[in-house]
């Protein structure tokens, strides 16, 4: 009869290895997809908004400093997208409606950034914004014409865009909230606009409480 002791020891060691592997591989059982890991990493890293030149639906060009001193509620989309972006922008509209009107444009600006600058010129954006009752002022739609700047922004905010065969893009989506200093402070689930809205209203309320 062979001793089973080393065998039991090996079983135990394998189990420990398994727990360690899954713990390490899912950031302590919190992130099972690369997308949730990405959001966790972003919230840890809190990147600041890189130098980017926007061209909006009214044909105006400006950099992120246009929004200095205000919160910016961001999404990334492209207008030819018929699936996720419609839901994304529609839900962004619901957050937009939930924010008290007197704060819009003064304390917070909504900004939809297109990552398809070739097709989303100002005229197209001007048309697209009307589908979502964006006023073009407190909720702006803009493209980033400079390819290098666009790539840097997408990279900084962890947006992955893959062109597909039919001229569209597969991409991950979320609501991004940038604070008045230009730092990314929150990444929210775009499928839950109510939660995102209450979070935004809460953060704005805090700001006011601090005399801001």
């Amino acid at each position: 009869m062979k001793s089973l002791r080393p065998n039991s020891f090996a079983t135990f060691a394998v189990l420990l290895f398994g727990i360690a592997l899954f713990y390490w591989g899912t950031d302590g059982f919190t992130a099972y997809t690369a997308e949730s890991a990405r959001v966790n990493r972003l919230l840890d890293a809190r990147p600041t908004f890189p130098q980017t030149t926007f061209e909006d639906s009214k044909g105006r060009s400006y950099s992120i400093s246009e929004f200095e001193g205000k919160y910016v509620f961001l999404t990334f989309f492209y207008s030819a997208c018929s699936t996720v972006c419609v839901q994304l922008e529609g839900n962004m509209g619901r957050v937009y409606e939930a924010v008290p009107a007197e704060r819009l444009g003064r304390e917070i600006v909504f900004l939809s950034v297109s990552f398809d600058p070739d097709r989303d010129d100002p005229a197209r954006l001007e048309e697209y914004r009307t589908f979502f009752d964006s006023d073009g002022e407190t909720w702006r739609m803009a493209r980033v014409s400079d390819r290098a700047e666009l790539d840097r922004l997408l990279d900084e905010f962890g947006v992955i865009v893959i062109p597909d065969e039919s001229g569209g893009f597969a991409h991950n989506s979320a609501f991004y909230l940038v604070d008045p200093a230009g730092t990314l402070i929150d990444v929210m689930d775009y499928t839950r606009p109510e939660e995102a809205a209450s979070e935004v209203v809460r953060i704005l309320g805090q700001e006011r409480g601090n005399g801001g």
Partner: protein, 185 residues
């Protein structure tokens, strides 16, 4: 001994950048061809380990349970959508995928399968069938893209790959249950 060489040759073939790149460009080939082939290469290479280090296996893997557990843990780990994404994003994870699927998954399976009893074998087969069916449904039904590196359509294809594998395993189990094994032994 010869089969260990074949195993090594298979491993090297899979690791060649053009071959790896081609297989990883398709989600379903990544999970249902490259990964099982890596396990197979380890399974073949195991022969060398068994001949070279017989004492190691006799001592640490007496009843096959540690080996089967290791096989199952590593196999399940690589089914996480995130693990697959990270293998594409980080070269170190890619290296870990090759080493773990061959040496920590295929090799222990080879040594353990003949050692474990009927109950353990059934548990592994039934467990993986359920898991495949579950993963298949998840990938087919999930409305969101689970992997950042692959398109939704590819994800659905992978889901059907899982489901068909599960169906084949069910057919195998039925076949196994209704065959008179004594007639063939």
């Amino acid at each position: 001994m010869k089969q260990s060489v074949y195993g090594l040759a298979l491993f090297i073939l899979l690791a060649l950048p053009p071959v790896a790149g081609l297989m990883e460009s398709l989600m379903i080939a990544h999970m249902h061809m490259q990964m099982p082939l890596l396990v197979a290469s380890g399974f073949l290479m195991a022969k060398y380990g068994q001949i070279r280090f017989p004492r190691f296996w006799e001592r640490w893997n007496v009843n096959g349970v540690p080996g089967i557990l290791l096989f199952a843990i590593v196999a399940v780990y690589w089914m996480l959508p995130r693990a697959m994404d990270e293998a594409l994003a980080f070269p170190a994870m890619e290296a870990f995928k090759f080493v773990s699927l061959s040496l920590l998954c295929g090799t222990p399976l080879r040594d353990s399968w003949p050692k474990v009893g009927y109950a353990a074998k059934s548990a592994v087969i039934i467990g993986f069938t359920l898991l495949f069916a579950g993963m298949g449904l998840l990938y087919v039904i999930a409305p969101v893209q689970l992997c950042n590196n692959y398109l939704l359509l590819e994800q659905i294809a992978l889901g059907w790959g899982f489901l068909t594998t599960a169906i084949c395993m069910v057919i195998f189990m039925i076949y196994h249950a209704f065959t008179r094994h004594s007639a063939y032994e």
